[in-house]
């Protein structure tokens, strides 16, 4: 029998975001710390498992210990993320170079993603996270009542315009086929905690002049992504991370598309509507 510790072994990465989990792969796969991991995820935004070396199957198993697994592929295996031109979604992936959360088009966005590194980029390709709970908490109190009333339109078109600012009309119409969604600017979670709902998908703030609304969105994104709320993960092969998609934004840093960088992603179903 391997020696197991009686509690999850972890340490903070930065005061306002991130934890490094040092429990063994066997312990993680056993599910015995799943409740603690869920709790820690919500508290820290992103958990890092350095060189845990999950196989693709183990990553699926680990993800399943934490909640409702969402299949991303027809056979339920982990989804490969690569900028290699053979990937037909590579163009859409370019949107991930800008701060965003996943699943804004759904009223119940996914709870979390697990991502592991198969092949790191030789340089660049970090994944960055910011804690939108901590960013909200730290806002000056005077701003909060007004912000809590606001609603924001999110659309794929907005995220894609950052990548391709001058699309053809045909391209723009394809983007519009993903329906827009209106979400509150501030998510009051069931736990009572609050987080900012922003990112590259945000088009405009309802009932506000569009340029002024955009300014507000730029300010809040700049605020939430300042150094104190962010953690930048430099990948080594075998690293895995999980992030709370309901309380963070994330983005990838630039890397050479031909570098062979290859990541595997699995997802946990959302459990709570943005409200």
């Amino acid at each position: 029998m391997p020696v197991t510790q009686d509690r999850l072994d972890w340490k903070e990465l930065k005061a306002d975001i991130g934890a490094e989990v040092r429990s063994s792969k066997a312990e993680l796969l056993s599910g015995r710390y799943a409740p603690q991991l869920r709790e820690l995820l919500e508290q820290r935004g992103v958990l890092v498992f350095p060189r845990v070396d999950f196989s693709s199957e183990e990553q699926v198993i680990f993800t399943r210990t934490l909640g409702d697994f969402v299949a991303d592929t027809p056979d339920g295996s982990a989804y490969a993320i690569t900028m290699d031109p053979s990937n037909r979604s590579a163009a859409l992936l370019k949107g991930s170079f800008f701060w965003h959360f996943d699943g804004y088009m759904n009223d119940v966005p996914i709870l979390a993603s697990v991502m592991s590194c198969r092949v790191p980029a030789p340089s660049g390709g970090e994944t960055e996270f910011c804690n939108t709970y901590a960013a909200w908490d730290a806002l000056p109190d005077g701003h909060k009542p007004q912000l809590e009333e606001m609603r924001v339109v999110h659309a794929l078109a907005s995220a894609q315009l950052a990548v391709e600012p001058e699309p053809s009309y045909a391209t723009f119409q394809k983007w519009l086929q993903v329906p827009r969604n209106t979400l509150p600017l501030v998510w009051t979670h069931r736990s009572g905690r609050k987080s900012l709902v922003i990112g590259s998908s945000a088009v405009n703030v309802l009932d506000i002049d569009p340029l002024e609304g955009l300014e507000l969105l730029v300010w809040l994104r700049d605020w939430a992504t300042q150094d104190r709320f962010t953690y930048s993960h430099q990948w080594s092969a075998g690293d895995a991370v999980i992030w709370d998609n309901t309380g963070t934004l994330h983005r990838a840093r630039a890397y050479d598309p031909a570098s062979g960088r290859l990541m595997l992603r699995t997802k946990l179903a959302g459990e709570e509507p943005v409200a």
């Binding site: 339109v153 001058e166 519009l176 405009n204 994104r221 700049d222």
Partner: protein
């Protein structure tokens, strides 16, 4: 006399709905004798090309002055050097917005009438064309339904919109610098004194007043895509010494990609506008 004059100044169409090439010698152009003909042609054709005319800066200034009121640059210079080399141009960063369709001077009470560009140093072959779209011709080709729909609509133009294309994720500090330039509401359709109408669109247009922002973006993209289609556009591949002049009140323009550090250099002069966008 008529024969001699004809030999000194000949024009030919580049494409049916945009562009003419002017074949004339320097002396004929600098004489001012053809100024009215050039201005008429400019309004009709949107863009005029004077192939390898090889004006010096002084000659370019003098030629510009034959056509109307010369517009100096912000700091009083007569010639603006267009290069993305930040060593030679303090505002090189802003110029990256020029890779997207735009017109110049959306903030001015009267946008400049015309700009003249002389090519001094080329970018590598196949890069750095300047492209023009005729927004009179595009408007005229719209359906009656579209024309009716656009009548009375106004768009908000702002520097921030042009810069977001280049820097989609600015810091708030950066945003505040853009905001300081201000914004301007302009009609989508410009009814010129001449009676002709042109579309007022481009990368400075951020949203349409009293329109849902995403729906407004869709309309702006549809109009820009239509106006910059092959029928209404001319792409100029530069040779050293070429002079190109465009009607800034009835066209959009953009540069196609070129390596930023390649040394490409164009010298620009401008004619003052004399008509507000209404």
């Amino acid at each position: 006399m008529a024969t001699a004059a004809k030999a000194r100044f000949v024009s030919e169409e580049l494409k049916p709905k945009i562009g003419s090439r002017i074949l004339a010698d320097k002396e004929a152009l600098l004489s001012g004798d053809y100024a009215d003909a050039i201005l008429d042609l400019l309004e009709q054709r949107g863009v005029l090309v004077f192939p390898e005319i090889h004006f010096t800066d002084e000659e370019q200034v003098a030629f510009t002055q034959t056509l109307g009121t010369f517009a100096r640059e912000l700091r009083g210079e007569e010639i603006y050097k267009i290069t993305l080399d930040s060593g030679q141009n303090a505002t090189a960063e802003y110029l990256k917005g020029a890779f997207f369709w735009h017109f110049d001077g959306f903030m001015s009470p009267m946008p400049i009438r015309a700009s003249l560009l002389s090519s001094k140093v080329l970018s590598p072959a196949g890069t750095g064309n300047t492209e023009f779209a005729n927004t009179y011709a595009a408007y005229e080709a719209l359906s009656d339904e579209d024309k009716q729909h656009l009548d009375g609509l106004k768009a908000v133009h702002a520097l921030a919109a042009t810069q977001l294309d280049v820097t989609p994720e600015p810091s708030y500090e950066q945003w505040k610098q853009w905001r300081a330039i201000g914004r301007k509401e302009l009609p989508l359709v410009w009814a010129h004194r001449s009676g002709r109408k042109s579309l007022v669109i481009g990368n400075s247009a951020h949203n349409i007043l009293n329109y849902d922002p995403l729906d407004g973006e869709e309309l702006l993209i549809r109009l820009r895509d239509f106006a910059t289609g092959p029928d209404f556009t001319y792409s100029h591949e530069w040779k050293v010494g070429d002079l190109v002049m465009w009607d800034n009140t009835g066209s959009l323009h953009r540069a196609t990609y070129y390596p930023l550090d390649c040394g490409r250099m164009l010298h620009r002069t401008k004619l003052e506008g004399d008509e507000p966008i209404i």
